[in-house]
């Protein structure tokens, strides 16, 4: 009885420590920071803005940003400032792959699809066909149209800014409690399975041992 009690108490202590550890760790979840760099890019006018950050919002400062076209040619490169931001004029009206390399082996990429800036970019040089025709009919100046488009773009950028910010903030969130508790569950399940398999081997070995003794 006495022999039985001691190990049970110490296992209890170990489990208490684990439980305490999880309780301490859980409140930190809302402000969790992880070990992964994120990239987010959006278009305003003819400029692409890139932001690099670690989950939880820490900025990825002085990180290398490279921009590639779909053919894999590097179009330009630069480094993020102290806010983790970098911006550049649209170099080519194709899908742009933005690769951010932070120190210590962290790297991630983000693709800005061509449709994000095709209309913005084409408006000053060549207005869409239908507009040009109607412009001729109504004898309005094309410059007015492009001015109008510019105004609409600016207004849209302004209106969309909070939405873009919301998206950026949402992407900064770290792992959720579901993922953390789920992970712990996987670990226990996995090692439970290992125990089960090992116990079957053990039993089989014992059985074969018994049989050889009988025989």
């Amino acid at each position: 009885m006495l022999l039985d009690r001691k190990p049970r108490r110490s296992w209890g202590a170990t489990l208490t420590v684990l439980a305490l550890g999880i309780i301490v760790a859980l409140p930190m979840v809302s402000q969790v920071w992880a070990h992964k760099v994120n990239v987010f890019a959006w278009v305003e006018g003819d400029t692409v803005f890139v932001e690099g950050y670690f989950p939880g919002g820490k900025k990825s400062q002085d990180s290398l940003v490279e921009v590639f076209n779909p053919a894999g040619t590097k179009l330009l490169e630069g480094r993020t400032n102290e806010k983790g931001e970098f911006s550049f004029k649209i170099p080519e009206r194709t899908d742009l792959k933005i690769v951010l390399t932070a120190s210590m082996g962290h790297k991630n990429d983000f693709i800005v699809p061509a449709r994000d800036f095709v209309e913005v970019g084409s408006s000053p040089s060549s207005p869409p066909q239908s507009f040009a025709v109607s412009a001729k009919d109504s004898s309005a100046h094309p410059t007015d149209l492009s001015q109008l488009e510019g105004m609409i773009d600016r207004a849209l950028d302004r209106k969309l800014a909070p939405v873009i910010k919301l998206i950026r903030d949402t992407r900064k969130e770290g792992p959720t409690i579901t993922e953390i508790v789920g992970g712990i569950g996987y670990i226990f399940g996995l090692f439970g399975l290992v125990m089960y398999l090992k116990s079957r081997n053990k039993k089989r070995r014992q059985e074969s041992g018994d049989r050889s003794l009988e025989g």
Partner: protein, 204 residues
């Protein structure tokens, strides 16, 4: 401590995977039936502790606890860290699938070294010496992991000294903190379950 996907070249990834496979094989062989629950508990600790960021320094760094895993589990730290890193990759998007081998090795190898270097010492009669050794174990494990990561990054064009400087400086607070954590954990284990530490080393 987790290297992202697409940073390392194929030979480095393959070497990491091969070394990890060997380590895990040894670990599974040495893992006794009675030890499995203990491995599971420490794997969970390793998995969760990576979410605790150390808010000092220029970059995102977190606790690792590989020193503690090595000290308590010995070679079983290899499968434990592999499972932990795999789940961190799947659920938290740390590292990646192709870098699983390299990332496991850079964290598990220092754990094994700590096990051999400090495993006997922490059972020292003088509690002051034991605490100092436990601290050194936590500290050294992170230092060595940083250097191993720097070594992997050489092949990407970053020079070793430059990469090592960044990594070691960024992890300096983590080293100190891990030293303290390992010292506290061992003091606690010595009180409530001293046979756990002694038995581990005798078995390994």
């Amino acid at each position: 401590m987790h290297i992202s996907e697409g940073v390392l070249s194929a030979p480095v990834l393959l070497t990491g995977a091969a070394l990890t496979a060997a380590g895990v094989a040894v670990g599974l062989k040495k893992m006794d039936y009675e030890k499995i629950p203990q491995v599971a508990v420490l794997t969970s600790a390793f998995f969760v502790v990576s979410l605790i960021r150390v808010p000092v320094g220029p970059s995102a760094v977190h606790l690792v606890l590989n020193g503690l895993l090595g000290l308590v589990l010995g070679w079983a730290a290899f499968p434990a860290i592999l499972v932990g890193v795999a789940l961190q990759g799947l659920l938290f998007q740390f590292g990646g699938l192709t870098t699983l081998g390299v990332n496991t090795f850079t964290m598990a190898m220092p754990a094994i070294l700590c096990y051999y270097l400090f495993g006997r010492g922490i059972a020292h009669k003088h509690s002051g010496v034991a605490t100092a050794l436990a601290f050194a174990c936590g500290f050294f494990a992170i230092l060595l992991s940083s250097l191993l990561v720097a070594l992997c990054l050489i092949f990407t064009g970053e020079s070793f000294l430059q990469a090592a400087k960044v990594l070691v400086l960024a992890h300096l607070p983590v080293m100190v903190l891990e030293g303290v954590v390992v010292a506290f954990c061992l003091a606690f284990l010595m009180k409530v379950k001293p046979e756990l530490l002694g038995a581990t080393h005798a078995a390994g």
